[in-house]
C-alpha cells in the first residue's frame, strides 16, 4: 500500500494499567495517536482527550425528519390527495396517526444514526483494515504514536522508556 505510516506501538495487558498510562503519558506532553482495545474501556475517551461524539444529534435530526415525513404524508393523502370517508369519521384524525408517526420516527432515527456511525467510522463490508496488532481484539490493549519525519530517535527512545515505565509489556515499531 502506498499510504503506510510508521507507528511506535506500546502493548498493555490490563485496562486499568492502560488508563493510568494514558493519563501519565499525556501529562508528560506526548501526543497519543490512537488506542486499540478489545472492548469499550470506560473513561478512555476522556483520558485521551477525545471530543464527545455527536452521533446522538444525528439521531435526533433523523428522528425529527421521520416524524415530519410521516405526519405530512398522511395529512397530504387524507386531506388533499384522496380524502376518504371511513364511517363518517373526520378526514384528519390525529390520534389515529400516532402509531405510524411514532414508528416512522424510530425507523428514520435508527437507520440514519446507524448509517452515520458506519460513515463516520469509515467502516464498510469488505474493507481491508490496517491492523496494528491482531491481539487487540482478543486480550491486549495498544497505544500508538505516529512516527512522522519530525520525530527523531530521541523521541522514540523517550516514549519507549515512558511506555515501559507505565507497564507496557511490549514496545515495538510497525508500519501499516
Amino acid at each position: 500500500m502506498s499510504d503506510t505510516k510508521k507507528y511506535l506501538v506500546g502493548i498493555f495487558d490490563d485496562d486499568d494499567v492502560l488508563l493510568h498510562a494514558v493519563k501519565d503519558i499525556r501529562k508528560s506532553g506526548y501526543e497519543i495517536t490512537d488506542a486499540y482495545t478489545p472492548f469499550p474501556v470506560h473513561g478512555l475517551e476522556h483520558a485521551l482527550g477525545l471530543e464527545p461524539t455527536r452521533i446522538h444529534a444525528a439521531g435526533f435530526i433523523f428522528g425529527a425528519t421521520g416524524f415530519t415525513v410521516a405526519l405530512s404524508m398522511i395529512t397530504f393523502i387524507n386531506l388533499f390527495n384522496y380524502p376518504t370517508d371511513f364511517g363518517g369519521k373526520p378526514y384528519w384524525g390525529l390520534l389515529a396517526y400516532v402509531p405510524i408517526t411514532f414508528e416512522h420516527t424510530v425507523l428514520f432515527s435508527a437507520i440514519g444514526m446507524t448509517v452515520s456511525f458506519y460513515y463516520l467510522c469509515k467502516l464498510w463490508p469488505g474493507k481491508t483494515p490496517k491492523i496494528i496488532d491482531e491481539r487487540t481484539t482478543d486480550h491486549l490493549f495498544a497505544l500508538t504514536f505516529e512516527l512522522d519525519s519530525t520525530k527523531d530517535a530521541n523521541y522514540v527512545n523517550t516514549v519507549s522508556e515512558l511506555l515501559k515505565k507505565e507497564g507496557a509489556i511490549e514496545v515495538y515499531q510497525k508500519e501499516v
Binding site: P38, F86, L107, A110, T114, F117, K127, K130, T137
Partner: protein
C-alpha cells in the same frame, strides 16, 4: 474495569476464573473445528421441517385459503394465533438488550446476543402468517402506501392492521440494526482468531473492517445506548399495536382496554420462556455454562414470575369486568371461554400461564435447570393457547347463532405452523455455528466487576477490614 461499585455479595456472572483470552477462546470455540454430528443431525431435521413449511405454503398459494380450516366465522383462526405467538416470542431479545441496558443489568451480557438473534428469527416466522393470510399473496405489496394508478387509492392510515405493518417492519429493521452493530466488534475478534485466509475474509467482510480504536468504541457505545433508548418504547409499542388489532374491534372478548399492557406482559413472558428453552440447551452443547450461569437463569425466571403473574391478573380482571359490565354479550363470551366447547384450551391457558409460574416463588426451583426447562416448554404452550383462546373462542360463536361452528385446523395449517418452528430452529442453529453466540466484547467489559475471581478478591478485602472482624464472610457467600 471497575467503572462502578457492585456489592461483592452479588453473585458473579462469569465463573471459572476466566481471563480476557479465555473469554475469546471459549466463545469462538463452538464456531471452529469439524462440524459436530449432533449439530448436523438437528440442523437436517429442522431444515426438513422448514421444507414442510415451504411445501404447505406452496400448496396454500396454489389451491387457495380454502385448504385451511379458517372460514367466515373463524376468519383469523390458527394463522393469526401463530402470528401473535411468534411476534410475542420476538419480544424478549430486544427487552433484554434494550431495557436491561438502560437499567444497567449486567446479567444481560451473557444472553443478549442469542436472545436478539432469536427475536429476529421469530419476527421472520411471524411475518409469514399475515402475508399468506392475505390469500392473493402476489398482491401483498398493496399494504404499502405508494402512488398508484388506482386513484391513487391509499392504504387506510386509521386501521390497526396498517399500524401493524409499520410496527412490525420497523421492529424488525431496528432489531436487526441493533443486533448487527453489536456483532461487528465480535466479528473482528473472530477474524483475528481465524487460521485460514477464507475464514479471515469471511469474518472481515462481516466485521466491516473493525479495529477497535477508542473513537470507534466511543461512537459504538453512544449508538448502542441510543438504539436501546429507541427500542425500549418500540418494543412496548409493537405488541400494543398488535393488541389494537383486537381491542379496536367490536367483538366481545376483544373490545377491552386492558389488551395493550396484558399483551406486552404476555409477550415478555413467552419471549423469556423461549430464550430459556433455547439457552438451556445451547449452554450445554456449546459448553458455555461459565457464561450463562445459574444467576442468569434465576434472573430470567424472576422476570417470568413477574410477567406471568401480570398476565394472570389480566385474565382475572377480564373475567371480573365481563361480569361487572353487565353486558350480556361480554359475559357470554367469557362464560363460553371457561365452559364452552373449547373449555380445554381455556383451562390449559389458565394452568400454564397463571398457576404454573408460581413455582418460581421458590429459590430452589428457580435455580433448578430441569424445572426451568420444563416450565419454559409449558409456558410456550400456555401462551400459544392464550392467543388461541382470544382468537378462536371469541369468534366461533359470533352474533349470529346460525353461523356458530367448531373450528379445527387442516393439515396445511398444522404444516405451516410446525414448519415455521423448523425455519426458526434452522436459523438459530446456523447462528450458533457461524456467529459468536455470546457478546464477546460486552462480557469482557463486565469481567472485572462480575468475574468470580474479582468478586472473591473483593470479598476477601471486605472480610479483612477491621470493622468486619466479628463477621464471617466466607468463600462463596453468594451460593
Amino acid at each position: 474495569m471497575a467503572s462502578h461499585f457492585e456489592s461483592p455479595l452479588r453473585e458473579p456472572l462469569i465463573n471459572g476464573n476466566k481471563t480476557y483470552k479465555d473469554i475469546t477462546r471459549d466463545i469462538v470455540a463452538p464456531t471452529t473445528g469439524k462440524i459436530q454430528p449432533k449439530w448436523a443431525f438437528w440442523t437436517a431435521i429442522s431444515a426438513a421441517f422448514a421444507g414442510l413449511f415451504v411445501f404447505c405454503i406452496v400448496w396454500e398459494v396454489i389451491f387457495g385459503i380454502g385448504t385451511w380450516g379458517a372460514n367466515k366465522t373463524v376468519g383469523w383462526a390458527w394463522d393469526i394465533t401463530n402470528f401473535v405467538w411468534w411476534i410475542g416470542i420476538g419480544h424478549a431479545g430486544t427487552l433484554i438488550s434494550a431495557i436491561l441496558l438502560l437499567f444497567r443489568q449486567k446479567w444481560r451480557t451473557g444472553v443478549n446476543r442469542a436472545a436478539e438473534a432469536m427475536t429476529i428469527f421469530a419476527v421472520v416466522c411471524a411475518g409469514q402468517f399475515p402475508i399468506f393470510h392475505m390469500g392473493r399473496v402476489w398482491d401483498a405489496f398493496f399494504i404499502f402506501p405508494y402512488p398508484n394508478t388506482r386513484g391513487p387509492l391509499w392504504v387506510n392510515f386509521t386501521s390497526p392492521l396498517l399500524w401493524d405493518v409499520f410496527a412490525i417492519s420497523t421492529y424488525f429493521t431496528v432489531s436487526l440494526l441493533f443486533w448487527y452493530t453489536g456483532l461487528v466488534p465480535d466479528f473482528a475478534t473472530m477474524r483475528d482468531q481465524s487460521k485460514t485466509p477464507g475464514r479471515w475474509k469471511f469474518y472481515n467482510f462481516l466485521s466491516f473492517g473493525w479495529i477497535g480504536t477508542a473513537k470507534h468504541w466511543e461512537r459504538w457505545e453512544s449508538l448502542s445506548l441510543i438504539l436501546a433508548g429507541l427500542s425500549t418504547p418500540l418494543v412496548l409499542s409493537v405488541h400494543t399495536i398488535v393488541s389494537f388489532d383486537f381491542a379496536t374491534s367490536v367483538v366481545p372478548g376483544w373490545h377491552t382496554t386492558i389488551m395493550p399492557p396484558y399483551f406486552v406482559a404476555g409477550a415478555v413472558f413467552s419471549g423469556f420462556a423461549m430464550v430459556l428453552t433455547l439457552m438451556i440447551v445451547a449452554r450445554h452443547i456449546m459448553n458455555l455454562q461459565d457464561y450463562i450461569t445459574l444467576a442468569h437463569i434465576e434472573s430470567m425466571n424472576k422476570i417470568m414470575l413477574l410477567t406471568g403473574t401480570i398476565v394472570g391478573i389480566a385474565y382475572l380482571t377480564e373475567l371480573f369486568v365481563a361480569w361487572y359490565s353487565g353486558s350480556i354479550y361480554e359475559s357470554y363470551a367469557f362464560a363460553n371461554r371457561a365452559s364452552g366447547p373449547y373449555w380445554w384450551a381455556y383451562w390449559s391457558m389458565m394452568f400454564c400461564n397463571l398457576v404454573s409460574p408460581q413455582v418460581f416463588w421458590f429459590r430452589k426451583l428457580r435455580r433448578n435447570i430441569a424445572v426451568t426447562f420444563f416450565m419454559s416448554i409449558l409456558i410456550n404452550i400456555g401462551m400459544w393457547f392464550e392467543r388461541f383462546v382470544i382468537i378462536v373462542i371469541s369468534l366461533h360463536r359470533d352474533y349470529l347463532p346460525s353461523s356458530w361452528l367448531y373450528y379445527s385446523p387442516t393439515w396445511v395449517e398444522i404444516g405451516i405452523f410446525v414448519g415455521t418452528g423448523g425455519l426458526f430452529m434452522t436459523l438459530f442453529l446456523m447462528f450458533c455455528r457461524f456467529f459468536p453466540a455470546i457478546a464477546i466484547a460486552e462480557v469482557k467489559s463486565i469481567l472485572k466487576v462480575s468475574g468470580d475471581q474479582y468478586r472473591q478478591k473483593q470479598l476477601d478485602e471486605v472480610s479483612s477490614m477491621e470493622v468486619y472482624k466479628e463477621t464471617t464472610v466466607t468463600k462463596g457467600a453468594w451460593d
